[in-house]
Each structure stands twice: as structure tokens, then as C-alpha cells.
Symmetry: D2
Subunit: 368 residues, 4 copies
């Protein structure tokens, strides 16, 4: 449905051109410092307003925390966040009614929800709804910080341009100072060029991102159906446009022999660890204290300005569609921030499931 | 934990060298024809006993249905299936105690469960435990058959050998008449050669499989967190050794432009459908009546006979490990059957979630 | 946590004196007629504004539907409803800070949430939060109406005054035309007298209500942990101040012999049914097509104006507390509406779980 | 369905006259001492074999732990327990086929499962299936012991005979040395007399039990839908034949005024606590460190030897039924043990949900 997680549970709602979108975040213990600024920071990261030609009318989100926070701390009760929709120009979408856009959710919604769904701006299927996920991710990241864990991602492929040079987690985090989070400046320049070209031609591009989670404690996850890998795959494929995922070295591992693929176990600082980390920090579904990383691949934005073949559902006959509304040349940058958020939410959920963070008492209580 | 699904729910248990493994299947309506033969057929498919050199001591599973079935039909109550473990030679594993095998779950289990876990034969992390999933999959496949849906998979890559020629879903199903389910005879021959070579050298290989689900009705899945893609990704990554997944055309979609990636919508038999199906039958997380397909990539079996570097956890110093027990040269064939099962379970769960199959009354009741 | 239900799922949020309370209702199929008026009607029923001396400053709730509804129908997506909190006078509560009110949740919240919780107006534990449940109940009642089922309750005891004369379900529904829903006019007069007396003396009273669900189809519920009785008990005890529940004839059944307690099975209109219905319409946890009914007992409002003994948590020494804010002389009337709502939500959830209402397609779609 | 709990999860299966009944217990951390003897002790308590005339052919259960336990400790993996059904004489039940027993689940099962369910011995609805719950309760009690909490219950009413004298929790525990756990010897004698009389007359009686949970830490439970009271109500009503529940002083509270009902808050050993405990240890759904207690009322066994009116479902005409099989004169003693188990399971689940017991590492690991 629209709820994700077991002990940290987020419930999202809202359509793109409706009154608002939002999220209820449940399971956060009392006493976590949390301000509107924490939420705003992540919502702003998602917007990439600084690339003006990419988002010509970019504006910061307007949101409110309706519950669960008092005096800069969580109360232990559900945190409801509403992100108000701006006055949108929906007339672009009038032509699309009953003419499902190829590659978009329109056809599926028509079959499942009939004439009742709000198709304007993509409605419930709009990438815009990931803003609610990103707001929840801001809270999850603060929970992770309690145990010294952090999540960050970057773009590794865009419009066919791939990042090829080696990098560290520090490089990943620093890449956010650039126009797009790309560790390799040459690749970044080429990517921006591809984006400009596609914007000019009314087309779109896909790409790939890599998410890292560092400092995640050992012992999270379970052998069969609570595997960290499986829960994060679920999380990642919940983000619109995701079409593939490689865990750790991913598909390359499938081409290796066992003697190559296995990461030797070594003593590190008096504790057992991996010499290499091709497996991405998880063995048998359980974290071992090594960094987690995985790559996620996204298809191009389905909305393009080129004419496309579709069906007029009222007449049930072929039709041509030309989209005239706003669209993102690539969903990759925004999806990256949503994927960071989903990763943080999933891992914070596991911290609570495993009891690493307790909830029978406040996180800190100077009164007691 | 060890339960998967919402309305069709499977709960698995058991360690590789313990008394038994098994599964409880909950949510099946009364009146579904089900016999031991249905279960046995799937358990046999998983074993590939016919490739003698691959499974030198291959024997069919011994199992019992303990509840939920009477006179060849389901009762509507939980179906418990126990698969008895055979007298296993665990002495191979004595040396491994406190010497975690690289690439295996040992190290993670040691960190999470301490000295309490049963490491013999891989314990709870053993690929053997997927037999319980396969038994549950047999039931799920019968539920899918009620609406005319079927699931089948095949091997598309093994030890670096790839299937390259085109094929149909009929080819996929017919490939099960061959020693391994590979649609391309040349590729099959090369794969068998690679397997033999690695068996001789005490090494292992990974590969990839493709799962198809055909006849799945429209309207299953939900826009945000009950996406069919996300639930199937969760399902697939629950199978041991899975490291990557491509939905539909997968990573290739990420390299296309929107105008190429979108599948045109056309009229098919008086209804809207896709001209091509690069997206794998799901739009916005919801089925549209087109076939679903995805590829899953598996790493090589971590157990190999070559010496490997590990740590002696008792002394916390480097150690060398040489595994002498039985192992599968590749997990790919067995995992394929488990992936078919997980796919069938996930989709049957969605049939129940959406109410396509009702549960307030028996499937058929000549009495009424 | 703050989510209830499996296929119809409500998630509530909000503190009494915070910005707003609200609810997200998930799982409703597309095409259910739903207007603000439907919600308002139930919110108004909960307020009993017509008894002026009971609610001196009674005002209708201000609420908004933020998502999931378009043109008077549900979209199939989550329905978020926000009920704005009015400018509340919180100064009454300043004295209560660190002086937990006996009988209220204050002490428990202090222990679990420390200084971080919002104690004003009872915060998250306030009876006010049941308005969100009542809003969700309005939607659930409309789902029940699809299959001809309806839920209604009445007061059977208040301040020690009991309803003793026999009545029908029609009487129960008609009792809502009176100041309080009580089928017996003499009892009603006595109850109003008791309420007035306690209001004057600054004390409060408890009581009991009975909930009926008529027209519920057969075959809902499951034998072990999805029992209708157990799910409704869970639902009922989720409403604040509930301290006891009698299912059907309840505790009286415990005093009978088997030969008296069993309801004879008879042919009714060509189908098997019960001659009497002491068991309250459920056998073995499953509905049989007979009316469901149960009684729920509520303790008196803990907030009273009489001085009470408590502890000053800052000094950890005895203290006396005198509450000066507004309080309800009895929670029974409002809780009754909340219990109707929880009953409707639980039963509508079971209609979806069992597939009686489908969700792979809209409820009605003239387009198709 | 047949799964109960969130972080401690039990899944039961089995029909009374099928091959076996059983339970899978999931979520127990590694390192909990657990032997067959722990399970057997609780299964034996449920049987009351020492009252020979009550259970003429009483025999201890035969069971096996199939997984999750090694060398006297839990492994952290699911614990599957199978309780084998004995060779039962099912011929008693032949006459009952298509003639539903009044008061039993037969009619409901016929409507929901049609001719497919196993009616022999009550099938899935048999009280016998609570043995699986009791086995799981044995494990939950050991988890509670980790934090110093314990659960025990006693009979407070049977066949109309009530316990009236005051007692302590020690009295409750000591009452288990008697033939039936009744704190008052006079009441016990009268109850045994009533049981004998009803056994002789082929009738049955109901009654009431009280469950105590002492030593439960503060801060468990949540304000809205994870209320301890609501979860325990759900737990209690999951036991067959339960028809009413009083939490704490229960219905008596509903007759008091607020000034009487509220328990004064006092300083106890330097901490805040309750002077009296009419509310049963829970405020606002959350534990406060005081003992929990509640009473549960059970209807008489529906199976009696007296002739009863029913319907022949094949002919759809009135019929008379005379049951000739074995039956329990009262379900109260066995249900008491099941209710203790459900209470322990629910509270242990909350210990895990709140993170009081962690699961990222073993409970104790001398190796580390």
C-alpha cells in the first residue's frame, strides 16, 4: 500500500496537482533533535534549483510539520509533514485525459482506477511524490547519525556518460558541492552537455546512481525474508523509474569464479573484516560492519516533447500524443535523493527492529 | 524475519543439518486441488538429479504435508510442509567452526548469533533452505493457474556463457526438457563444459536467469510501496546469492533516450496494450495485462575447494581454509527454481490482496 | 504504532494542542462516492453540540481532505484528512507539567517520552484524537454500505443508570434522534440528571455502550489470529478509557451451562442460521450472516475538578493537583462514535482481506 | 491469519485429527537457554492429567523441536515445534458431518470452507490447537524472565462458583499446587463438585480466569494502536471460547465516578507509582512498572451429550444431534494456560519492539 517499514514506518499520500502531498513518520523515539531546517535541507537538495536551465521555475517547497515535534525535538508520536502543492497549470494535461502517455503510469491507472484517478501532473505516480519520501529520509538520517552511520549517493551514469575513475566515500560526499553530484569532473561536463542537448531536443535520458551507507553497525538484517539486501531492493524499486539494481559489484560478481568473487576475511583493528568488499558489506543478508553500497539504474523520463503513439481510450483507436507540460530532462538527480532517503529509512528501521535504538524511554532525558 | 507476503504468507524454518526444514503456507482458500505430487514435482525440478556428475549423491526430498490439506484439496487452513533432512556428514564442517568461509554467511552469523548458530552445511543460510520456498511455490503456482497465469524461468548466463539468440515463452517452457533449462543449444553445451571444468578444478561459477510471468491480470500492485516491481525485487533478493536484478530491458533502458525507451500504446484485440514490452509488463508499479519478465544475477557458490584466506576467530589471527564438503558448482539452477517460486508466491499474494481470488467462501463447493 | 488494519489501513497523527490531528486512510478502491459532507456528518455526531450545558463552547471541526478524493469519488489512492486544532487555551495545563494527573496517560508518557511530550490538553492521549478515527470511520461505513452492512451503537449504561427494557436494531438507530442515543426514555432522563449532577460537582462518570453490525456477510474472519472477535476487541480497546468488553451475551454466557448457552441452529429462509443469537453472530471467529453485537465499558473521565493526590516529578515529592481546564463529564458519548468507527473500519478491512470488495479495478467505471 | 505478533511472531498450524499441530516461533534472539523440558513443562500444565476423572485417557503430548535450537540454546533462527496428533477415534464425528454442532465453529466453517474442512475433533477450531500456543508461550516466558517479568493466572469463577477472598500474586502462583489453580479452597471444592455434576449429566460449564504479569518494565506499548491493553485484548480473544474481558477492575470502573476510579500517584522507592492499581498497570496504553492484571470470561464447552437442535445441511431440514465423543466439561483450565501463553507472547513481543531486548547480537556470547 502506501506504508513502508516495520518499526520505522512511513505512510505517504498525495497527488501531484491535488491540495498537498505528505508523509506520516511513525516509530521515532522521543528526544531526537529535529527542526524544520533539517527537513528543508533535504527537500532543497532534491530540487537542484541551482541549475537554472534544468528547472526554469524552481521554487523551494512549502511544508509544515503538523505533529510529533515540539521545541526542536521529536515527541515519540507520529510526525506528520504536509508539503503544499503550488498552483499548478493543469491545462497541459487536459489533452492527455484518456490518452495515456507511453512509458508513464497512465495506462495502468486507467485500468486499475478507471476514470477516477487524477492524471494531472502524473497524479499519485508523479515523481513529485518522492518529496514526501525525502522529508522522511531527513528524519531517518538523524536516527542513523545516533549510531554514527551516514548515507550518501552520487551519479555514476547519465545519458550514457559513465564515471570511470576511482573515488572514495569522501569524494562522494564532496561531489555535492558541484552542480550535480558526480565525482569525475570530465564526466560531469559531458553529462551536463547531454542534458542540455536533450532539453533542446525535447527528449530525456536515464542513468545510474550509487548509494553508500557507511558506519552501519553489524548484525542488522535476517537470514531469510528480512535480508538487508532484499529490504533495500524493495526500497530502491519503490522509487519511480528504477529498472535495475546491482548490489556491491553486482553483475560483475556473476561473471567471476568463486575463488575470485569471495572477499578474503582478515583481521582489522582486532576484529574480523573483509580485505576487499565486492559483496557490498552484507553476507547472508546481514551487515558485518563494512560499508554498504549498491547501484541503481533509472530509465529516462517518459514525458518527452516528441510525438508519441498511444490510444484514445474513449474511441479505442490509435492516437498521437504531444506533451507540452514541464518535464525533467532526467529523473536521475531527484531520484538519487529519494534513493538516499529510502536507504536511510530502511536502515533506521533495522536499527529499531534490532533494538539498537530503544523506544521504551526517551533518547535523552535530563529530567530523569 | 522468516515470513513473506501479506495475504498469502509463507513462514520458513530449519537449518541445513538440523532435524528438518519446512514452511507454513497461510492464506490459501479452501478447495484448491493440491496433492503431494504437486509439491514433489517442484522439489524434483529443483534437484536436477539427472545431471549425475553435478549431483553425485542426489536423492529426492522426503517431505510430509502436516496440515491444511484433506482429500486432495486445501482446507483453507495453514498448510505446513516438513522436509526431513537426511543423515548428513557434518564432519566436513568441524574444521570450519570458528573459521568463517569467505563469501558465505558464516562471518555475519558469528557476529549476530555468536557461538549459538548451527554452521554445519551452512545452517540457516544454506541454499538447501530454498527447498521450503520451492514447496510453497508449488502451491502458489496452482493459485495462479486459477486465473490462467503461469511462471517459468530459464538460464540466460552461466560461467560467462550468455544466451544470445531470440526466444519465445514457449521456448522457455520447452527448455526444461533439456539437461539445464537453456533455450540455446550451443550456449547449453558451452555452459555444461564450463561447469565440468570448474567442478574438476574445485571452483564455482555464477550466472543469470530470467523469470517470466504470463497471463497475470491487470490492476495488480500499487503506486507507492506495494509496487509489483518492488515486491518482486524483494522476493528475488531473498534468494541466496542474488546480486543484481534487471526489470524488463533493465539497465539497457537506462542508456536509452525517452523517445526510444517508451513502449508505444496500441489497440490489441479491442483493448489497450503495448506494442513492444521493454518495460516488462508493469507501469507505475501496476500490471497492465502484458507479460512480466526480469533477469536476476547470481554470484558463484562461495564454497570452493581452493584454499582461501580467513581468520581464526578464537585466536583472532589469519588462517587458511580448505573446504572439503559437497558443494554445488553453481547455485544458478537451484536458485532459478527458487526464483520461480518466489515470483509465483508474490503474484499469488497480489491476487489475494486485490480480491481477484476471494476467501470468504470455498473456491468451489458442490454442496452449496 | 499508529496504524490499524491490514488491507484497509488507517494511520493517525496529532496532538490535542498541536497544529492539527489527522488520518491517512489507505486501501479504499477507486470509485467510492465520498464528499466532505460524509466526513462532516460523522464528526458532528461525535460532538453532541446540541447538549449545550455539556459542551459550552462546542464548535464544529474544521477539516480538509488533502488527497485521494476527486469530483466526489475516491481515487484509489490514500485519503489524507487533516482536522485543524483550534486556538486552545493551554495555560490550564501549565500547572500540570511535571504533575501527572491521576488516571490519565501523563505518568506513562513521562516515563516513556520524558520531557519531550506535549502534555497540553492530553497531547497524543487526548480523547480529541478520536476525531481522526471518526473521520476514517465515515469512509469505512460507506464501504460497508456497498455490501448492505451498517454499524450503529447506543448507550446502555451511564453513571450507574442502566437501560433495561428490550429493543431492536431499529430502536438503536432511532435513538440518535434524542439528546443522547439511549433507547429507553426513562433511563435517558436519569442519565442526563446524573451528568448534570456530576458537572455541577466537578466529577465525572463512566458507562457502557453497545455496538451493532447488521448485514455483515458470512465467511469473514479466520480461525486463529484473524478472528473477528479478536480484531474487534483490539479495535475497541484502542479507544481511550475502554476497560471491559462483552461479546454477545458476554459474561452471562460464562455463567450458563453448555446446553443453555448454545444457540440452536435452524433453517431461516432456506439457509442455516441461529434461532437465538447469544453468541453475537460469530462462531469460531468467523461471521455467519447473523448480526454482530458487543458491549464496551468505559471508565469515567480522569480529569475532574476535585483535588487529587499526585507527585511533583521535579522534586519527587507528593503534591496536590486541581484541574481547571475543560473536561467532558463523561467520555461515553464521544467514545461511542469512535467505537462505531473502529468497528466499521475493522469490518471493512475484513471485506477487503476476504476479497468481497475487489481492488484490481474501480468499483464502477462507466468508461469501460 | 495464523500469525500473531510483530517482532516476536508465532505462526500456528494443524487440525485436531490431522497429522500434527505445531508452531513456528520467530524473532527470538540467539543464546536463550531452551530445552525440550521447558516446552514439556508448559504442555503438561495445560493437560491437567492429574484430575483423572476429568481426563480419563490423558496422555502427555509427543512433540519435537525441528529447528532453531542447538545445544540447549536458541540459535536466533525460527523455532519450529511439531506436536504429533495421537491416533484419534474420529468415528464419533461421522454423524456430525453436515450436522453442525450448536455453539461450535462447524456452521461458520461450513459457510467459509464448504465441504473441504476437516470437522473431525473440531479440526482447526479445536481447543487442542491451543497446545501450539502454549508451546510458544514457554519460549516467551523465558524471554520475559530475562527482564525479571513473569506471567501467571488462576481460575476466579467456574460453573457459577466465584472466588471471593482476597489474595496476592504469591497465592496465585502457589495455587498451581492444587488440583485446579484456585486460591480459595472452599471455592475450589465447590468448583470440583460442579464439574463432577456436569460430567455426570453430560453438560458443560464456563467460567473466568485472571492473568497477572508482574515485573513488566515501564514504557511498553504505544498511545494509539499498539496499546498494551488492545494487544492483550486481541491476544485473549484469540483463545477459543473467550467472550468477555475486564481490564484491571474492569466493569466496576465503569460504575465509579472519576474521583473514585483514579489511582492516586505516589512516591514508591524514590519513583512515581500508583497507590492503588484499579487500572491494571497501564495508563494511556503504556506500562508504568506496576503489575498488569485482567480477567477473561469463557463460555461453556459447546460439545455436550444432551440432544441439541441443528440442521442437516445436505437436506436443509431440522435435525437433532447427540454428541458421543470425548469433551472437556469445561474449557476453562486449558484456556487459562493458553491465556497465560498469549499474554507472555504479547509482552515479549513488546520487549523486542521497544528494543529492551536487542537482536543484533547474541544474548550472551562468551566467545566475544
Amino acid at each position: 500500500m502506501n506504508t513502508f517499514g516495520r518499526e520505522l514506518r512511513i505512510t505517504t499520500f498525495g497527488e501531484s496537482h491535488g491540495r498537498a502531498i505528505g508523509v506520516v513518520i511513525d516509530g521515532v523515539p522521543a528526544g531526537l533533535p529535529l527542526t524544520e531546517e533539517d527537513i528543508r535541507k533535504e527537500l532543497d537538495r532534491r530540487m537542484f534549483c541551482h541549475i537554472h536551465w534544468l528547472n526554469p521555475r524552481c521554487e523551494p517547497e512549502e511544508f509544515e510539520i503538523l505533529s510529533g515535534v515540539k521545541d526542536g525535538h521529536t515527541q515519540g508520536t507520529p510526525i506528520a509533514i504536509v508539503i503544499w502543492n503550488k498552483k499548478a497549470i493543469s491545462s497541459y494535461y487536459d489533452e492527455l485525459w484518456m490518452k495515456p502517455r507511453p512509458g508513464h503510469a497512465d495506462l495502468a491507472y486507467y485500468l486499475k482506477y478507471g476514470k477516477f484517478y487524477d492524471h494531472r501532473g502524473g497524479g499519485r505516480a508523479s515523481g513529485r511524490t518522492t518529496a514526501a519520501i525525502v522529508a522522511a529520509g531527513a528524519v531517518a538520517k538523524k536516527l542513523l547519525a545516533l549510531v554514527g552511520a551516514e548515507v550518501a549517493g552520487h551519479i555514476v551514469e547519465l545519458g550514457g556518460v559513465e564515471v570511470k575513475r576511482p573515488y572514495t566515500f569522501e569524494d562522494v560526499k564532496k561531489s555535492w558541492e558541484k552542480p550535480l553530484p558526480v565525482v569525475d569532473d570530465d564526466a560531469l561536463a559531458a553529462m551536463l552537455e547531454v542534458l542540455r542537448k536533450n532539453a533542446a531536443e525535447g527528449d530525456s535520458v536515464g542513468g545510474g546512481v550509487e548509494i553508500w551507507a557507511v558506519g552501519v553497525p553489524q548484525g542488522l538484517g535476517e537470514p531469510h525474508f528480512g535480508k538487508i539486501r532484499a529490504d533495500l531492493a524493495h526500497a530502491a524499486f519503490s522509487v519511480p523509474a528504477v529498472v535495475a539494481l546491482d548490489w556491491g559489484a553486482g553483475r560483475q560478481l556473476a561473471k567471476m569464479r568463486g575463488s575470485e568473487a569471495n572477499d578474503p576475511i582478515v583481521v582489522k583493528g582486532g576484529k574480523p573484516g573483509l580485505e576487499t568488499n565486492k559483496i557490498g558489506g552484507v553476507l547472508g543478508g546481514i551487515t558485518i560492519g563494512e560499508p554498504l553500497y549498491f547501484r541503481v539504474w533509472l530509465k529516462p523520463t517518459p514525458s518527452v516533447r516528441k510525438p508519441q503513439r498511444t490510444v484514445d481510450l474513449a474511441k479505442m483507436e490509435p492516437a498521437t500524443l504531444q506533451f507540452k507540460g514541464r518535464y525533467d530532462v532526467s529523473v536521475v538527480p531527484k531520484a538519487l535523493v529519494a534513493l538516499e532517503a529510502m536507504t536511510a529509512i530502511t536502515l533506521a528501521d533495522h536499527l529499531l527492529r534490532a533494538g539498537v535504538i530503544r523506544r521504551d524511554r526517551p533518547l535523552k532525558d535530563p529530567v530523569v
